[in-house]
Subunit: 355 residues, 2 copies
C-alpha cells in the first residue's frame, strides 16, 4: 500500500486537513508547519491518490484526444502538440483512434468523455446531429478542424490555403485544375472546395474539374490519379499530402511527368512531402500549434469541471469564436509551368493569347 495523506499527517504531527492544505493551498498554513509537512511528504514519497481527489473535486487531470487515424502524419503531429501542451499544464492525455468512423467516434467521446476534464475532437467524422448530442454532455468539447454551432473550435484557414495554391498555379499558366477532394462529409473538404471555386471564379479563364471524394490516404491518391490524366487538367490539387503523394506515385509510374506534364499540389505539408522526388508543393498547416492552441482553448473555455454544479442551470457561456490559424503555400518541385499546347495546328488558334 502506498503512503497516504494520513500517514504524512500523522508523521508530521498535524491533522489530515492541515497536511492537505500544506500541499495544495500553502498560503493557508503557517510557514513553519507548511515546510515541515512538505518535507515529511517528500521524505515518505507521498503521491496523492488521484482517484480520491477526483471523487471529491470532480476533476480528473486528464484530457481526451480523439483522432481519425493515429498513423496519419497530420493527426500524429496534432497529437504531439496536444500532448506537449497538456503535459506543460500538468494534464495527461487519453488518446483514442476512431478509425475514420463517425459512429465509433461518437461512442469514444461518450465512453472516454465521462472520465476526463475535456475532449479535443480532431477532424470529427461524425454528423452534425451526433455532434450536437456530444455537446449536450457535460464534458467541455473542443473541435479541431471543424466548426459547429455552439462549439469551441480551432481551425485552419482552409479556403485561404486553396486560394494560395490556385493563385500559384494560375501564375504559372494553369487554367484547367482538377480537385481530388477529401472524404464525403468532410467539413474541411467542403471549405476547401468552396474556396477553390471562389478562387477560380475570380481568375478569368479558369476551369475546375471536380474528381469527387477520395479516401484521405495514399491509396486514395493512387486510385484517383488516372482520373486526373483523363480530366485533361494540367494541375491537380489534392485534399491532403497523402493523396497528393499517391497521385504523384501513380503518375510517375504511368510515365506522366511531374511537373512537366501535370503539376501537383498537396495540403498539410506533412513530413513525407519532402521525402519524394519531385518534392511536393503543398499548403503548410501549423500542426503542432493546432494541437497546442486546442488545449489552451479547451482549458480556458472549459467551464471548470461543471459536473458538480450542473444542476444550477447555468448554461455555459456561448462558445467563443473559432480560433483560425493561417496557412502558407510552400512551393517545391511538383509544380511548374503547364505543357505547351500539343501541336502546331492547334497552337495556331492561340493567337490571341499573350506570347
Amino acid at each position: 500500500m502506498s503512503v497516504t495523506l494520513q500517514d504524512v499527517a500523522r508523521e508530521a504531527g498535524v491533522s489530515p486537513a492541515t497536511a492537505s492544505r500544506a500541499l495544495n493551498a500553502p498560503e493557508l498554513v503557517a510557514p513553519a508547519r507548511r515546510e515541515h509537512v512538505r518535507q515529511v511528504a517528500a521524505q515518505l514519497g507521498y503521491r496523492p491518490n488521484r482517484a480520491a481527489r477526483e471523487l471529491i473535486t470532480g476533476r480528473t487531470g486528464n484530457l481526451c484526444l480523439v483522432v481519425p487515424d493515429l498513423e496519419n502524419p497530420f493527426f500524429a503531429a496534432v497529437a504531439k502538440g496536444v500532448q506537449a501542451r497538456a503535459r506543460a499544464l500538468g494534464l495527461a492525455v487519453v488518446v483514442a483512434d476512431s478509425e475514420e468512423d463517425g459512429h465509433l467516434e461518437s461512442e469514444l467521446v461518450g465512453r472516454l468523455g465521462a472520465q476526463v476534464d475535456g475532449v479535443v475532437l480532431c477532424s470529427p467524422r461524425m454528423t452534425d446531429e451526433a455532434l450536437d448530442e456530444a455537446l449536450a454532455r457535460d464534458v467541455p468539447l473542443l473541435l479541431v478542424n471543424r466548426e459547429h454551432h455552439g462549439a469551441a473550435s480551432v481551425v485552419i484557414d482552409n479556403a485561404d490555403g486553396v486560394r494560395q495554391a490556385v493563385a500559384h498555379l494560375y501564375a504559372l499558366g494553369h487554367r484547367r485544375l482538377a480537385y481530388a477532394g477529401g472524404p464525403a462529409g468532410s467539413w474541411s473538404d467542403a471549405r476547401r472546395r468552396e474556396g477553390l471555386h471562389r478562387a477560380a471564379a475570380s481568375l478569368p479563364g479558369t476551369e475546375v474539374v471536380d474528381l469527387g471524394h477520395v479516401a484521405p490516404v495514399f491509396d486514395g491518391g493512387v486510385a484517383v490519379a488516372d482520373l486526373v490524366v483523363a480530366s485533361g487538367a494540367t494541375a491537380v490539387l489534392a485534399h491532403n499530402d497523402l493523396v497528393a503523394l499517391g497521385i504523384l506515385n501513380r503518375l510517375t509510374s504511368r510515365g506522366v511527368r511531374v511537373p512537366d506534364d501535370v503539376s501537383v499540389v498537396g495540403y498539410d505539408d506533412s513530413p513525407a512531402a519532402t521525402l519524394v522526388a519531385p518534392a511536393l508543393t503543398t499548403v503548410r498547416v501549423p500542426l503542432a500549434r493546432l494541437g497546442r492552441d486546442a488545449v489552451d482553448a479547451l482549458v480556458n473555455h472549459a467551464p471548470r469541471a461543471a459536473r458538480r454544479r450542473a444542476a444550477s442551470g447555468v448554461t455555459d457561456a456561448e462558445a467563443p469564436a473559432p480560433v483560425r490559424l493561417p496557412v502558407e503555400l510552400v512551393v517545391r518541385d511538383s509544380t511548374g509551368v503547364p505543357p505547351a499546347p500539343p501541336t502546331a495546328p492547334i497552337a495556331s488558334t492561340a493567337g490571341d493569347l499573350p506570347a
Copy 2:
C-alpha cells in the same frame, strides 16, 4: 450531476448493493430483478463513476503508453495497435511522448505510472539503472523493443532482420556494406549491429563499414549519406526507414544512383517506404502486432493491480520470457547488383571471379 448507482437503486426499488451486483456480478441476483435493474440503469443513462470504483478496487481501467516520438511512423503504428487492443479490452490509453529523452521518459513513467494499471514502454531511451528504478515501482511495466533483466517484454528479431538483409545484398554481389546505426545507447541498434557483424562474418569476403550513430530521423540519413559515398561501400543498411529515406534523398540529389551505384536497405517498413522512388527495400516489422501483443502481455502478466496487497511481501512471479516477433525482408527497388568494377584494367584482375 450525473446519475449514480444510488439513483438506479432507488428507481429500481432495490438496495445499492443489489444494483451494484446486478451490473457487476449478474449471477448473484435473481434474473427478474437483475434485468429490471439493468433496464433502469440503461434508461437513466447510468455511467459508473470510475474514480469511486478505482478508489475501492485499486484498478483504473487505464494503460499508459510512452513512446519517444509520436510523429515517427514506427511509434505511431505501435500506438495504434496498443490503442486498438486496449479498447477491445475496455481499457483507455494514456499516451505520452518522451521526445527521445531518457530523463523525461523516466519522469513520465513515474508521473503517469501512478494512475494506470500498467505501462507499455516503447523503445525506452532510459538507462538500465533508470529501468531498474522504474521496475521497482508497483506498476506492471512492459517493454517493447528492448529486453531487460526482470522485465516483461515484446521485441522483434532484430538480428534476424539484418541477417536477411545482408544475405540479400550478398546474393546480389555486394561485399562492402556500410551501416548507419541508430542512436547511441539504443538497445535495438546494438542487437542489429551485432547481427550485422555475425552475418558478415559468416559470409566470406564481406566487409562492414560502421558509420557510427545516426539520429533516427530523416535528417540523420541526409547527414550520413555522404559518409556512405566516401566509404566506398556498394550498399548501406540504415537503422530505420527514416534514415534510409534521408540517405536515398541525399544520394539522389548528389547524382548517386540508387540502386545502380549504391543499394539502400531500411528497417521497419514504414508506410513511407513505398512513397519514394525507388521504393525502399526494407525489413518489415509487424508494428500493429507489436502493440497488440504488448497489451496482451501486459494484461496477462500484470499481477492484477497488486497495489493494495503489496504489503503482503509476495514478489511478482519472475518476468516471463520475452515475446519475440519475426520480421521479414521486403525487397523493392532500392537494392540491385553492385556496379561493375570501374575500368577494364582493374577488371582484368577479376579473372578468378565467375563470369
